[in-house]
């Protein structure tokens, strides 16, 4: 019985995203009917049924990224029977089948699974070539011991000779450029004409220098020159079990790459504020008391999302993106919520959160989190967003710092609401407090503005009726 596959539509295509099913299970299709919309790295296009018959089963969900050649649907015989697959080697599994389950509205941050997320980075080039053409003679002379600038200098030949003949190069003056010890300097010791005398009042070579050229100091029992594999092998405890190589889920790879890029290229800074949540807690109890049994209850997270959504239009610098050296302001307020999945993180966003009522924010949030767990998110629901909130409060975290979800300008990390003694007037009472930490991109925004943003957020959360009004 025929199996429809994710087709290769171009020479460089390795996977495609199933954007949308145009037919449903059980529909009759004829060869040539458009049955689905897929997206490649180049374009979106409709793909056509390769056979006629009943669309017996859809094997992947909308938004799934599917490697080429993998089945996406079965077209049954007209009686709808489903028998063996036509293509022997392609198991009917979906590409991201394991990204669902056990999601929580938490976790540090975020994934934008763009279709080009796996594209390899251009390799850096040329940085080292410039030095190779600089004539050695131009270097400043460092007269003694071959150890100028913390780098030990001896020609490769000299290092080998020293190693072979047990010569301590730290005791020899280099006559070459930059104090490099050259053949002529060591030959008297090699040929035995001269015995080495400990140099008086000479400083020891720096340990750094000795390590940098392990073959050089013969005193250290003539270590062999390390091979590249020795150098790069991860440090492991001798006699302990070898670590087990784990398959990296795609989502984890993408998260890792994006987070590394963010942390390495974005100048992060952090501002923390403590918010009194007593009024917010009372307000929430009041609101949820109105919710009928089984209805959607408003969470603290919903309130924080709403508060941030109302604050952002007043602090535009935080609702921005710094990309390719340019700063972009977003006119929309789309708030991503970081959701932890088994295989990594995903951050769907609530579009136009500032325009939505608290109830609408709450419903949208529950819907997105639910579908994130089931792998039912569409790419357009997690590709994009303008500001991210990551909440670890339910895991009893006092406070934490999140990594910015690039290219966004800021991310808000939410800690737990804790009961704590606070000074009220002249008394110490029990108050409910929560710490918010904003990590922001210093290219887009400055500290004072982030502080003012937190003040605004505090205003909404400490006077929670305003959340219902906004």
């Amino acid at each position: 019985m025929p199996m429809m596959i994710m087709p290769k539509m171009g020479d460089g295509m390795e996977e495609g995203t199933l954007l949308k099913w145009l037919k449903a299970e059980g529909d009759e299709v004829s060869q040539g009917d458009a049955i689905a919309e897929i997206e490649t790295d180049k374009v979106s296009l409709e793909i056509e049924a390769t056979e006629s018959g009943t669309l017996a089963r859809l094997l992947v969900g909308e938004g799934d990224v599917v490697p080429i050649g993998q089945p996406i649907a079965q077209i049954g015989a007209d009686d709808g029977s489903v028998t063996a697959s036509a293509t022997g080697d392609a198991a009917a599994t979906t590409a991201l089948a394991d990204t669902g389950a056990d999601a929580e509205p938490t976790g540090q941050t975020v994934v934008n699974l763009k279709s080009d997320a796996e594209a390899s980075e251009p390799a850096g080039a040329g940085a080292s070539t410039a030095t190779s053409v600089a004539p050695a003679a131009t270097e400043a002379p460092v007269p003694t011991g071959g150890s100028g600038n913390g780098r030990f200098r001896a020609s490769p030949l000299v290092k080998r000779l020293a190693s072979e003949h047990g010569i301590d190069l730290t005791q020899i003056d280099g006559s070459g450029p930059g104090g490099r010890i050259v053949k002529d300097d060591v030959m008297p010791f090699v040929t035995g004409g001269q015995k080495q005398q400990p140099r008086a009042a000479q400083p020891e070579p720096t340990p750094v220098a000795a390590q940098a050229t392990p073959a050089a100091p013969a005193a250290e029992a003539a270590p062999k020159i390390a091979t590249s594999s020795q150098v790069s092998a991860p440090a492991r405890h001798v006699g302990r079990p070898e670590p087990v190589l784990r398959d990296l889920p795609r989502i984890r790879r993408v998260t890792g790459r994006r987070m590394a890029e963010s942390k390495q290229t974005v100048p992060h800074f952090y501002v923390t504020a403590e918010i009194a949540m007593d009024a917010a807690a009372a307000f929430r109890s009041e609101v949820n008391a109105q919710v009928p049994e089984g209805g959607a209850r408003v969470s603290f997270n919903d309130m924080i999302v709403k508060a941030a959504a109302l604050a952002l239009p007043q602090h535009r610098d935080l609702n921005a993106s710094f990309e390719d050296g340019e700063l972009y302001d977003h006119v929309n307020i789309d708030i991503n919520i970081a959701v932890a999945l088994d295989g990594g993180l995903i951050a769907p966003f609530i579009a136009d959160a500032d325009q939505k009522s608290l109830g609408a924010v709450s419903r949208a949030s529950k819907d997105l989190i639910g579908r994130a767990k089931n792998g039912g998110l569409k790419p357009e629901e997690y590709q994009g967003g303008t500001f991210t909130i990551s909440n670890l409060g339910m895991l009893d975290v006092d406070e934490f710092i999140a990594v910015i979800n690039p290219p966004q300008a800021a991310i808000l990390a939410v800690g737990a609401i804790v009961r704590t003694p606070v000074v009220s007037g002249n008394e110490i009472v029990i108050g409910q407090r929560m710490k918010l930490t904003v990590a922001a991109d210093h290219r887009a925004v400055d500290g004072a503005e982030v502080a003012r943003f937190l003040q605004t957020v505090r205003g909404y959360l400490e006077r929670p009726m305003t959340l219902a009004l906004g």
């Binding site: 596959i5 087709p7 290769k8 539509m9 171009g10 020479d11 390795e14 374009v43 296009l45 490697p67 080429i68 050649g69 293509t87 392609a90």
Partner: protein, 352 residues
């Protein structure tokens, strides 16, 4: 179908000014060619499926719609002759007796492939059967064919070269340099080369009209004093008739000759050409009415040498052959890694 000659050196035996040549090919042969054309068609469809499944890599250019062209010209092919073409080269191999299994295996990048998995779709060679290659750079194989023809004349073999080129290659400098050399060497009987323009109307996505102000492509040979004519290459019998005239002339005189063979690429330029924004669906639908296989079916029915049932059998058999080729390709081993570095230099030099 009309033939035209635009040259001051028209050979007397092909001076048929505007009259259609009559086919001398027997109905049985036509039926056999029908079978081969269907086999090639289904081979190409199977290859495209392989591409969609990700099993065929790189570029894939299929011959769908052009089958009568190569099949027709190869009717005049004689052992010792050689063909050379660009990258739409599967059909030439198959019509020349190449093994469909080895051909499919090449597309699948297998060690059992025609060129050991080293060339892929664009570089099919079957030298034993006279197929001297598929080449991937538009126009760049044209001088090779002309030089090969010089060698046949120099060695006095009596063989000729069938040099296939696309309409797109006509605008390339290589075409003009090579046609000039061919005309020049032909003066001394030193260039037995038949130029066959596979005019499928598009150089990739650029129609002939959008590529040149002189769309009468055969007339470009006038500049080089090479006689030429045009043929409707959807009509197998017409192609065969012209092929024999042209090949006989080339073989007898050692001079080049050219045919602009009018055809239509019913499939995409390459498997990655799925948008086809450069032409309308109506245009393709219209062209399908003159699918060379369909025309030939009608002709065979008219001749009374076959019926629907027999043709269905031919199609079923062709499907079996294509399936067998795919199965062979799928089950074949990948090239041995030791093959990576062979065939860079001649083995006796000991170099890699």
């Amino acid at each position: 179908m009309a033939t035209t000659h635009h040259t001051n050196e028209t050979p007397t035996d092909v001076a048929s000014n505007g009259t259609a040549p009559t086919s001398t090919v027997s109905p049985e042969t036509l039926l056999d060619y029908y079978r081969q054309m269907v086999e090639v068609r289904l081979f190409e469809e199977a290859a495209t499926r392989g591409f969609r499944q990700g099993k065929v890599g790189g570029y894939l250019h299929v011959y769908i719609g052009q089958e009568a062209l190569a099949r027709g010209f190869l009717d005049a092919f004689r052992k010792g002759d050689k063909t050379i073409t660009a990258y739409r080269d599967h059909a030439h191999v198959l019509f020349q007796g190449g093994d469909p299994k080895a051909t499919m295996a090449e597309l699948y990048g297998k060690g059992t492939g025609l060129v050991k998995g080293k060339g892929g779709s664009m570089h099919l060679f079957d030298v034993e059967n006279g197929m001297w290659g598929g080449y991937g750079i538009v126009g760049a194989h044209i001088p090779l064919g002309v030089g090969m023809a010089y060698s046949e004349a120099y060695r006095e073999t009596g063989n000729i070269i069938q040099l296939y080129l696309g309409d797109g290659a006509i605008h390339n400098g290589y075409f003009h340099e090579s046609a000039n050399l061919a005309g020049l060497w032909g003066k001394d009987g030193m260039c037995p080369c038949l130029f066959i323009i596979e005019n499928n109307q598009y150089g990739m996505g650029t129609s002939v009209e959008r590529a040149t102000a002189n769309t009468n492509l055969g007339s470009k040979f006038d500049s080089y004093a090479i006689p030429w004519e045009k043929v409707d290459a959807m009509d197998l019998e017409a192609v065969i008739a012209v092929a024999h005239k042209a090949v006989d002339y080339v073989r007898e005189t050692g001079k080049p000759y050219a045919v602009e063979a009018m055809t239509y690429r019913l499939g995409p330029h390459g498997a990655a050409d799925f948008l086809e924004q450069y032409r309308s669906k109506d245009e393709v639908r219209e062209a399908r009415k003159r699918d060379p296989i369909g025309l030939l079916e009608q002709r065979l029915l008219d001749l009374g040498v076959t019926d629907e049932e027999a043709m269905e059998k031919i199609r079923a058999h062709a499907k079996e052959l294509a399936d067998e080729a795919v199965k062979f390709a799928e089950e074949s081993p990948e090239p041995d890694l030791s093959e990576l570095t062979t065939d860079v230099y001649a083995p006796e030099t000991g170099l890699i």
